[in-house]
């Protein structure tokens, strides 16, 4: 078994590759967040302090990023903050509504892949759902409505949680969904509470993939399903210990502006799930099915409305927008993969 894929090394990976970029971003770019480290004087002490607080800094960065950019995203793309699912090679220029339909299709395809919607009994048994990294609650509202279940969403961003609640009230779903500010790595729930554990494009933000998976496994009920849909880097081949330097550089640039810790591969998630006693572990590469997404996002950013909104939103949004071509480059060069990993906890 490759050393790079052992669960314990996934924690060290996140600090090895990213503590330096976060240290530099904290010291040189965000005067406000470096305030907590100005009590030490030597560079060495500051580096140690930075590493210790880098998880806090990441959490804060993620919250601020989404506090700033959620409104902008919602204005242009609506309440689903995830990729659309398209037929491969669909080169048709889709209308706005085509992309929104694709985002709904992404939810449905994920449920189908996991085996949830192909089993009537299982569908009926879904009463409690947790939406890990819920954004402004698009998935929660959709799933709660679809299954007649209760969905609890967690996000690091108070702005998102507020907006999610407002949207739920506006859609008369306030009795079925609720949103909390909480950390996916320390979920405020007792064990085994949820029939469906849903993580739609939030895994990328988790600095400790092993801890993240542990939490997902902890909170899922016996017989319940975990669905993880996430950006990964390509699987490493036999004998490869790490990505090529040029690949790592590409990902590092994206990490800075999207507040992402180190990336892992779909294989890494599968291995983490295998280390727990779970059934029916499956994964797939849906990179071809999301190919039209980033070009579409860039097109909307380049419209008059898009540009004005970006300028109004702030630096984080602008930097995020400038990073989008790197996502396309990553996909084209096979570095970035869009993966789904699902499993079931035994009864």
């Amino acid at each position: 078994m490759k050393a790079a894929l052992a669960p314990s090394s996934l924690t060290s990976l996140s600090y090895r590759t990213n503590s330096s970029s976060f240290r530099s971003s904290l010291l040189f770019r965000s005067p406000s967040s470096s305030a907590s480290m100005t009590t030490t004087t030597t560079r060495g002490n500051v580096a140690v302090a930075a590493a210790a607080t880098s998880t806090e800094a990441l959490r804060k960065g993620i919250a601020e990023f989404y506090n700033e950019t959620s409104g902008l995203w919602e204005e242009i793309w609506g309440d689903h903050m995830h990729h659309g699912f398209y037929d491969p090679d669909s080169s048709v220029q889709l209308s706005d509504s085509g992309h929104r339909e694709a985002q709904i299709r992404m939810i449905e395809e994920s449920l189908r892949f996991a085996g949830v919607t192909t089993d009537e009994e299982e569908e009926k048994n879904i009463k409690k759902i947790v939406d890990v990294g819920c954004g402004i609650g698009g998935s929660s509202r959709y799933l709660a409505s679809k299954f007649g279940a209760e969905s609890i969403g967690i996000t690091l961003s108070p702005v998102q949680a507020n907006r999610a609640n407002d949207l739920a009230a506006a859609q008369s779903l306030a009795h079925k969904v609720s949103f909390q500010v909480a950390d996916a790595l320390d979920q405020p729930f007792e064990d085994g509470k949820f029939d469906l554990v849903w993580s739609m494009e939030s895994g990328e933000h988790m600095p400790d993939k092993a801890k993240f998976v542990n939490e997902l496994v902890r909170v899922v009920a016996p017989g319940g399903r975990i669905i993880i849909v996430t950006w990964c880097h390509r699987n490493l081949s036999a004998g490869e210990k790490a990505l090529q330097p040029w690949e790592q550089n590409l990902l590092d640039k994206i990490c800075k502006t999207f507040y992402l810790p180190a990336w892992c591969s779909t294989d890494d998630y599968v291995h983490l799930l295998q280390s727990h006693s779970l059934q029916d572990i499956k994964c797939a590469d849906w990179s071809e099915n999301v190919a039209p997404f980033w070009p579409a996002v860039i097109r909307t950013a380049l419209t008059w409305k898009g540009l004005v909104s970006l300028l109004r939103s702030g630096m984080k949004s602008i930097k995020g927008a400038l990073t989008m071509p790197l996502m396309i480059e990553g996909y084209k060069k096979g570095v970035i993969k869009f993966g789904i990993i699902t499993c079931r906890k035994p009864l």
Partner: protein
């Protein structure tokens, strides 16, 4: 935050074994009407932690729920009970206040109806 959510939340500070249920310190509680859906209430009943619900409701100023969890038969026949359960679960909102860990006393603030359950670095 409604009681249907409170029924799911617990304190996850490292080392805590009795983090549920969280005590409610009610600052501002408001009532928001929600359409009564008896099937949804029956659906949810099976997975409720009853004592936590009764205590929580009392903290929010509602003492109409029975101390002991009724049996399923009551759900089918007694609509007035279902309505009380509906009211407690879905219509009482804690807008401002705090959720308190029963073991450590740590307070998790609730602002604009949203609990902040983030742990500090020394709590994980």
């Amino acid at each position: 935050m409604r009681l249907i959510t409170h029924n799911m939340l617990s304190c996850n500070i490292k080392g805590v074994t009795n983090g549920f249920p969280l005590r409610i310190e009610a600052g501002n509680v408001i009532k928001k009407e929600v359409d009564f859906n008896p099937d949804f209430i029956r659906h949810m009943f099976a997975k409720l932690e009853w004592k936590a619900l009764v205590e929580g409701a009392r903290s929010m100023g509602y003492a109409e729920l029975p101390e002991d969890s009724p049996d399923a038969a009551v759900l089918e026949s007694d609509e007035s009970f279902l309505k009380k359960l509906h009211h407690a679960l879905l219509e009482l909102h804690l807008e401002e206040g705090a959720l308190v860990c029963p073991e450590t006393g740590r307070k998790f603030p609730v602002n604009k109806g949203i609990p902040n359950m983030l742990l500090h670095e020394d709590e994980v």
